[in-house]
Amino acid sequence: MTGQEPRIGVFLCHCGVNIGGVVNIPEVVKYAQTLPKVAYAEANIYTCSEAGLASIRENIKKQGLNRVVVASCTPRTHEPLFRSACREAGLNHYLFEMANIREHCSWVHRQQPQRATEKAKDIVRMAVARAAWLEPQEEPTLEIKDTSLVIGGGITGMTAALSLANQGFKVYLVEKEPELGGNLLHLHKLYPTMQNTSEILEPTIRSVNASDKIETLLSTTIADVKGYVGSFKVTLARAEEKREIEVGTILVACGAANYTPPKGLYQYGVYPNIMTQMQLDELLKTGEVTKPPERVVMIQCVGSRKGEIRAMDLAGFPKSDTARLLGKILKAKKEEGWPYCSKICCMNAIKNAVLVKEKFPKADVMILYGDVRIYKEYEDFYSRARERQVKFIKHIEEVPPEITQAPDGRLLVTAYDALSGQEIKLPCDWVILSTPMIPRKEEVILARMLKVPISSDGFLMEAHVKLRPVDTQIDGVFVAGAASGPKDVPESVVSAHAAAARAGTLMANKQMTTEALTSVVDEDQCIGCGLCEEICVYGAHHVEEGTSHTIAALCRGCGACAAECPRRAITMQHYSDDQILAQVKAALTEES
């Protein structure tokens, strides 16, 4: 199409009343028809509907369009759709341009329809201006190696590994500890079935070991990750020895850590017999209790639902310092606590309360809570606990429970019961603190190697919190289990299968195409200063023999290199200076 005179088609979307209710679409259509190089313009009720897409396909042919502009909503959700419509009509989809007149216009200017209409014209004019400069692009095709790396040998990692193996793929299962099992090794029983963890773990570990497709690597950590989807080159470290493997996909299942309260919080570490649920689990498991407790008091939300949302903006860190800076953040969080609800603690507390009751029937078990967050059908579990006379006491943030030690050495919990409106004193033998699941330090360092963003609360971030819960923004890298936020075992197992499905689909297809939206180096201009290599967080640039080269598959098209390059030697495909400047000019020229 290059060299050919642009014939631009503009399709304006009413989006029902979303846009049409504010912007005067017919007026904008008329206006679009007057714009240079526009050969055709029309309006649709929903351009994204079958009818709308059909109309795009038709008119590409009928009107001989060689550029298409859709003015509607956000490219984030809809660009792929319109692009495929172009493709289906034989038009290279890089000759498509999208203008957002909903989020950027109708939604934010509801009160001023007149001016919104004017703004819509501006936006369309700019899009058309850029469209004129668009060029077709070829998308590189990548071979996908049908081997997968699963990081983390807990229940999530093992389940994912087994699923992939069962789907017929070779799997490397890497665990930093000397044995498989992860957090479950430290837990006693699992709700809702109340099975011993071993009943779940042992068979799983057995089938992992039995599978000829899974290679388990214990006491092993990830030293480095290079490459990209289809062929990641991963360096594994076991003590001193290093080993490099090549895999097509990576599943992160490194789970979460457990928050340990700072010394003195609820007298933790000050008086004896104050422990976390995790420690209680171990105690119940080993069963080494010298004196049966008469009363056990559990306190919920210790270190969770506290403090404000503070982004852990790692992007700003120099790579080398990640660990150190992260350490600081974790230390700060340890003092102030984490803002989110850890989701599983209520169920876990009730489970242990019931176990205590079973072991010591005379014991009086009380749970001090803010909200009983027993979701799902676990409500019945909560009811059974009440029938066993486990007592639930609602306290309010303003008056946290206090713990002192009575002369006789017993602990004394003083709490305000919001529901009877009075302070109660509870002499007791054990105080159990329910603490949240928190991100692992290693996890975040790993995230840096994989270039996977971290969410504001420190867990690995999904590609889309609603629609892509186990994908990450990096092709070929998936996340499952507690690595992306607190989950209980059943939820972790589901996410493990989900991640295995996504990775499996990728590998089953053996190849994939990636966006042509990458940087290209003009070798005549490049002086090989290496600035691009330095700033590229994706490691997509490397300088060889005095010139920089782009590794297309790694380049996310962020454009940082192009902006940095002192010689203007780097161009972003599909975001060339010509295109951007044309857009800017259009923005500045008063409409005719």
Partner: protein, 431 residues
């Protein structure tokens, strides 16, 4: 020879996800949907937490992916009638209900509907809006084809006259078709507890007592009121609104003893949306336990309180009384933390009903021979190790068909993908 065909029953977000994952993997997918269009419950919602994406806007592309995908064959307006065979070789009999419109000819232009003289309440709008007797449940419907509602059609023949494509065919007959598939995925979703079963709240008697799903339609820009939140009795903008949690959930009297898992969360979302629509509205949420579990929700609750001034009252109100003249509502409740019995006058009350097994899912379970739990949701083969397997080999389940195990949309999607993995494992591999 592996049978690489799968039947997915239910075209909601869970079923769509399972279908796309398998289709992208090269499986032939038959996507069975009972109603005229796929999309399910998510299509009815206004916006979704926390990105506040318009629900339809993020769903529509996936729906259209299904309709485009060369590996997906949509069997909309159809129901599963019988199943024979076992893993790797099921024969499923599907009833294709007559649409009275030739789907291959219809372009969904809607001219027929414009001329259709019969107007009836639209199920998709929870009866708040209207549709014609020939209709598409919502503008982004997939497949993009009309359907004739024979129960209300007066057979005036106008639609036949008007249709350029000659797609209307009132003589269509129901047909039964057999499909041979290797595995089956159930994604039949949920229905809403009938709130009128709790007369003290007056749902069905008091017009300004509505359900949360009705509210979603009222808030939705493409809903019956064009996104204007007005109250049913007089079309006035409500200034005082209350949400009531656990209407039928956590209730032993109706056997719905479970927590529906999503009500607290969507209520906070809706409360914030209302504040954004009409900043000077008083919005209160009456709850027993504010179950804002999961990442980001607690933070969202905090913001709803501090930034938007949403009122949270720990209380399950005892009763609602209507003033016959003004149709305003008087709600009696105890602020259990303050220990005070109080009453307040409100313009609008939003009930958050329990989610219950979808109509017909029990029959489906019988047809499939799969067990259901005490609530009537599909039973997982093992709650911990096989959460998306049914009790029948080769038949899997995802989304709210599993019951409140599904916390929200991401859970449904994860389960959808998980079933795809299980299918691949069972059909291609060694498990």
């Amino acid at each position: 020879m592996v049978n690489r065909a799968v039947m997915v029953v239910g075209g909601g977000i869970a079923g769509i996800q399972a279908s796309l994952d398998l289709a992208n993997r090269g499986y032939k997918v038959y996507l069975v949907e009972r109603s005229p269009s796929i999309g399910g419950r998510m299509a009815q919602l206004d916006k979704t937490f926390p990105t506040m994406d318009c629900s339809m806007c993020i769903l529509a592309p996936k729906m259209i992916d299904c309709s485009h995908h060369h590996n997906v064959q949509m069997l909309s307006y159809s129901e599963v009638k019988a199943v024979k065979g076992t893993t790797g070789d099921f024969v499923v009999t599907v009833l294709r209900k007559p649409r009275y419109v030739d789907i291959t000819k219809c372009t969904g232009c809607g001219i027929c509907a414009e001329h259709c003289p019969v107007e009836v309440p639209n199920e998709f709008d929870e009866q708040l809006g209207t549709r014609k007797a020939i209709y598409m449940p919502f503008p982004q419907g997939v497949p993009r084809a009309m359907t004739v509602d024979k129960n209300n059609c007066i057979e005036c023949g106008l639609c036949i006259k008007m249709c350029q494509a000659g797609a209307v065919d009132l003589k269509q007959q129901p047909q039964e078709e057999d499909y041979n598939v290797g595995a089956i995925i159930v994604a039949t979703g949920f229905d809403i507890f009938d709130a009128s079963q709790i007369p003290t709240y007056g749902y069905g008697r008091y017009r300004n007592v509505i359900t949360s799903l009705e509210l979603e339609r009222l808030l939705c820009a493409s809903g019956p009121t064009g996104g204007h939140l007005i109250r049913p009795s007089d079309g006035k903008i409500p200034r005082t609104i209350a949400f009531i949690q656990c209407v039928g959930s956590r209730d032993r009297r109706f056997g719905t003893t479970y927590c529906s898992s999503i009500c607290c969360k969507y209520s906070v979302k809706d409360a914030v949306l209302i504040k954004e629509h009409e900043p000077n509205t008083t919005v209160s949420i009456f709850y027993i336990d504010m179950r804002a579990f999961g990442r980001g929700f607690q933070e969202f609750v905090n913001r709803a309180k501090s930034e938007y001034g949403v009122r949270f009252v720990r209380s399950s109100p005892g009763e609602i009384l209507e003033d016959p003249a003004s149709k305003n509502l008087r709600i009696w409740y105890e602020d259990t933390v303050a220990g005070r019995i109080e009453n307040a006058e409100l313009d609008l009350v939003v009930l958050c009903p329990a989610l219950i097994p979808s109509k017909g899912s029990h029959e489906l379970a019988k047809v499939l021979g799969a067990e259901v739990d005490q609530y009537g949701f599909f039973k997982a083969a093992d709650l911990i190790t096989s959460p998306v397997d049914t009790t029948v080999q080769g038949i899997f389940v995802c989304g709210y068909a599993l019951g409140p195990k599904t916390g929200d949309i991401p859970d449904s999607i994860m389960q959808g993908s998980a079933t795809a993995a299980r299918v691949a494992e069972v059909l291609e591999g060694s498990a």
